[in-house]
């Protein structure tokens, strides 16, 4: 199945949620995929170890935009420790697509990587 046939991904690509960076985030991080020029910036606000607000901006393909949107929808309200425990497989389940090819995994992972990097170093 082509990614364009995945309704969830297409919905989030067309109408990304939280598609604006936070004004005063406690954390913000940009991750780039140098091989294709994709860049995702994620901003988070943490209160008492919980992700209380999320936002992002993206330059790149449909997949990086949609995957970041879906991921942020899932982690908003979660405890930081639980987000840090998430794996690549958990992300693919959230995207309802385990068929993303090896060559495009990184596109889907950019938002995930940004969040993990921020929380891991905080």
């Amino acid at each position: 199945m082509a990614l364009i046939d995945n309704r969830l991904l297409v919905d989030h690509a067309k109408n990304p949620r939280f598609y604006e960076l936070l004004h005063s985030p406690s954390h913000q991080k940009t991750i780039k995929n140098m091989s294709c020029g994709d860049a995702v910036t994620v901003s988070l606000h943490l209160v008492d170890g919980i992700i209380s607000a999320v936002g992002f901006s993206a330059e790149g393909c449909m997949l990086c935009r949609a995957a970041t949107s879906i991921f942020l929808c899932n982690i908003k309200g979660m405890q930081v420790l639980n987000v840090l425990a998430l794996t690549e497989e958990n992300l693919l389940d959230m995207l309802e697509s385990r068929e993303i090819s090896h060559g495009r995994r990184r596109c889907a992972m950019l938002g995930f990587e940004a969040v993990q990097a921020m929380l891991g170093s905080s």
Partner: protein, 408 residues
Amino acid sequence: MSELIRHFFSFFSKNDKELFFDSAATSLKPDLLAATEQKIASFATDIVHRSSHFAGSQATQNFENVRQFIAKKMNADRSEIVFTSGATAGFNIAALSWAEKNLKEGDEIIISIAEHHSSCLPWIEAARRKTATISWAKFDKETYLFDQKDFVFTPKTKVLVVSAYSNVLGPIWKDQQELYDLISRAHSLGIIVVVDGAQQAPFYSIDLKKMDADFYAFSAHKMLGPQGVGVLFVNKRIHSQLSPAFVGGGALDYFFNDTPMYKKMPFFLESGTPPVAAIISFGEVLKKVIPTIDVDIEYKRIVRLMAQFIIFLKTIPGVTVLGNEALLQSDGHLVSFLVDGLHAHDIAEILSAKKVYVRAGKMCAHPLFDYLNCSAALRVSMYWYTTEHEVVQLCSEIADAIARLREL
């Protein structure tokens, strides 16, 4: 005519039809390649240039026959043909073996902005090791072509690195003579010239003596051969300037008072055990598959198909062709393009789901993409086996993919 050569590939007899337009990355492999390797594996074989027994002698003879065949085909001396593991290894060996003795602090290396990472990075690293400097030669963005004024040599310039044919832009010289003139001008100033032939050699349009580069590298896997095999041409003129890039068995001639004395070229640069079966199999493909076609006539056919494809691309609003369109229509076997508002990976993804394979990304040419100020591009490349029918199908699938994405 392409039907004749397609008989060598079981890829085309499968029921599950796939359209392969990524030959510039790696070509399809004829069945003869694996069959020859399997045949060799069923005999006693040995490392070349070592054992005196029959199996070793036969392996050496077959191996050297391939070297001789390539040398003759490309108008070089057999001492100038070094087997490597691919073009990347060739450029690394070139940089390691030449720069060690000859590159000095403050020297300049000029690299064309169109270089693949495999041809530019070994020299960037050599410059770093020797505290030399790198200058990038840039073409006119209107024409996408280099000319003589783009290469400003100074007394400090010691190395020039250029591609014969870009893996992104296709033709980057108005004609071969333009490149030959540049090489000649560099030589008149004592500058070593390294030429990336990875996208040129597969079409046999090369006369190494006439070109007169100092180093010229290409990969077997882009020309129906196996992955893990390549050739580095090293001009006889500079053999005495080289140090061994790697040392070990095969390159050593003898020890003289504890000092290693190395063999002459090409063995000087061939330490270690080469992939004997793969190289002999590559030779079989060169001798038995390629001669079934007239490469001059077939090249013109491919170029005509590419011209038709470019005309199709121009009918799609928002498509930008990267490269000199006039030359691509007369000498193009690959074309890269952008589609306004759509990401190359999204288009390639839809095509892939339909089993249509094109390349998307920056194609290991980040300096070029930075210079052009664009992110990822799509690339369609054709080879001897590409048919008009496949190109028509490709056009239809690309038009459909773009329409679907634009409907979102």
